[in-house]
């Protein structure tokens, strides 16, 4: 498993820390609001997996694309999705990114290169291949990154999309967040390999497993994969070993149902925010500055979302055809 070694600048590390904190605080807010009955529909939070979102997106250009999953708030935020409009979508407001029709599982901000969270497991990967195809034809060096879970790596869509990208040398990075479970089913049971990254071999593409709790390691691996794609060399597969600190959704507890307390506590010690703070030897003053900046942003998002109107009835009948 690759760990970060290099001369990453402290500035870049602080930026990624900030991104992780923004995700953490947004997710905590989403969960609080869900518990308070303020969210319309369900939410799947990514607390524990922030280093994946932050590390990958730090390696992207603004005109690169991401596609994500039901657990996509973190990727959305790291790619620059607007927090107020995102929270408004969760709360069923007409100012939401999807005008209250898509909800948490379909957050998208196409103006920021975010082609959507997709709630059908695996569906985002062939679409990423298609965006990669468009980018290849356009010739501007853009790259598409698709995020997916360990569970999704067992779906035919993953394998078909990898092969397409490989034979056509499409600029796509497949980023698998192996958080060890698909709902209650352990990857250990459902997956034929220990390291999902080895599946790239079947498609003659580079594959690498990284420590998904170490944002620097994720960043370095992503930079390499993105550069490979930009050079026209085709897809790569990165697997990040990580863990969700919450249940799959609000239907299951943090531990005790299919995960043990010991396992959960072991991973909690490797909280990506704490790992990053230690690497940076972050001072209390620096921590406070990050926290205050993020709190202001969250507060602004809450104010916007809470004061936004509900949709008119006519919204139900709009946006069906172009």
């Amino acid at each position: 498993m690759a760990r970060a070694t290099s001369r990453l600048t402290r500035k870049r590390m602080h930026e990624m820390y900030r991104a992780m904190l923004r995700i953490r605080r947004f997710e905590e807010t989403a969960d609080d609001f869900y518990m308070a009955g303020k969210v319309v529909g369900g939410v799947h939070v990514s607390i524990g997996q922030e280093a994946c979102s932050a590390g990958v997106c730090a390696a992207l250009r603004e005109d690169d694309a991401v596609l994500t999953t039901h657990r996509g708030h973190g990727h959305s935020i790291a790619k620059g999705t607007r927090l107020p409009e995102m929270l408004a979508e969760l709360m069923g407001k007409v100012t939401g990114l999807c005008r209250s029709k898509g909800g948490s599982m379909h957050i998208a901000d196409v103006s920021k290169g975010h082609y959507g969270a997709h709630s059908i497991v695996g569906a985002n990967m062939p679409m990423a291949a298609g965006i990669g195809l468009a980018y290849q034809l356009e010739g501007k060096g853009q790259v598409a990154v698709v995020f997916f879970g360990d569970g999704a790596s067992n779906n035919g869509a993953f394998h078909e999309a990898m092969n397409l990208c490989a034979i056509w040398k499409l600029p796509v990075v497949f980023f698998c967040e192996n958080n060890q479970y698909a709902v209650s089913v352990p990857a250990e049971y459902s997956t034929s390999v220990d390291d999902i990254s080895v599946r790239s071999k079947g498609y003659d593409a580079p594959g690498l497993t990284v420590d998904g709790m170490d944002v620097a390691a994720v960043y370095e691996a992503s930079q390499e994969a993105v550069a490979h794609a930009r050079r026209g060399l085709g897809p790569s597969l990165i697997e990040a070993k990580t863990y969700r600190f919450f249940g799959h959704s609000r239907g299951d507890p943090h531990y005790g149902m299919y995960r043990t307390k010991e396992e959960w506590e072991g991973w909690k010690e490797r909280d990506p925010l704490i790992v990053c703070e230690k690497m940076l030897k972050m001072t209390a003053k620096q921590k406070k500055a990050h926290a205050e900046a993020v709190e202001a942003e969250i507060k602004e998002a809450i104010e916007f979302a809470e004061n936004s109107p509900e949709p008119e009835e006519s919204v139900a009948l709009e946006d069906i055809f172009a």
Partner: protein, 328 residues
Amino acid sequence: MPETKMRTISYAQAINEALHEEMERDEKVFLMGEDVALSAISPATAGLGERFGHERVRNTPISELGFTGAAVGAAMAGYRPVLDMRRIDFMMLAIDPIANQAAKLRYMLGGQVSVPLVVRAPEGGGSQNGPTHSQCLEAWFIQVPGLRVIVPSDPADAKGLLKSAIREDNPVLFVEYRALYSLEGPVPDGDHTEPIGKAAVKREGADITLIGIGSQARNCLEAAELLAGEGVDAEVVDPRTINPLDIEGLAASVRKTGFCLIAEEGHKSGGVGAEIAASIQEAAFGALEAPIARVAALDVPVPVHTKLEAIVLPSTEKIVAAANNLLS
């Protein structure tokens, strides 16, 4: 004849009992699906993993195409697989093994094989789960010769029809309505089965026939109560299976009342209601005193927002309004 003893259980418990009893009765029956081995995942499958072990109650990877195709193979090879699709929306990834393979193999191979497969497909909206987690898609599957499609609306039918489906030697799409999971109702004790292909009158009446599919059979019963308050005596008929469709059973009611309304949760265009309406006018055109009315989901994806979702989906109120409109 001694009177059958009844118990009150929920729709989900009824499914659960049917699975327990059939797995007990026939060791060739096994269950597969995502998270099925975890009791907490659904009251419909709770306890099965503990009772029958994880060989017969088998978790699958998120590989709908793969495990459905595998179930078709196992069925040809002498087993009686039951699949748990969690949601019919996810079953869309497995249409090939269901429609191109399971439903056609016996015919294509000249009768050499049978495919005793049950695909359990929970479905339906009303929970703010959005466009890809709320659909009712049974209408797509009545277009497939060789596939039975069952749409139970209460606990007794859920149990009786699931047991019959598992004993059936043909592939069955067994639709379960998530909105009905907690609905309680009387279920006969013992080995209760219901025949595939017979409609049931759920409430007798003289003025209008309300035909309800699945979740909307329940709404038709509620509508009938409200209509009774307005002096309208509605009869509620539930086709229970939509392939085969018991046209005679439905037409008999229409001949009695002269008015017919069909309610379903799927989209209106090309819906089950369209098929039933066409069949009823073929069978009982002379008895109709007005065109057949349909209440269904609008031809719009089901949005997340609660208020917008209610605009798109059918409801008891919409059925009452359509019935009054039909009779006026």
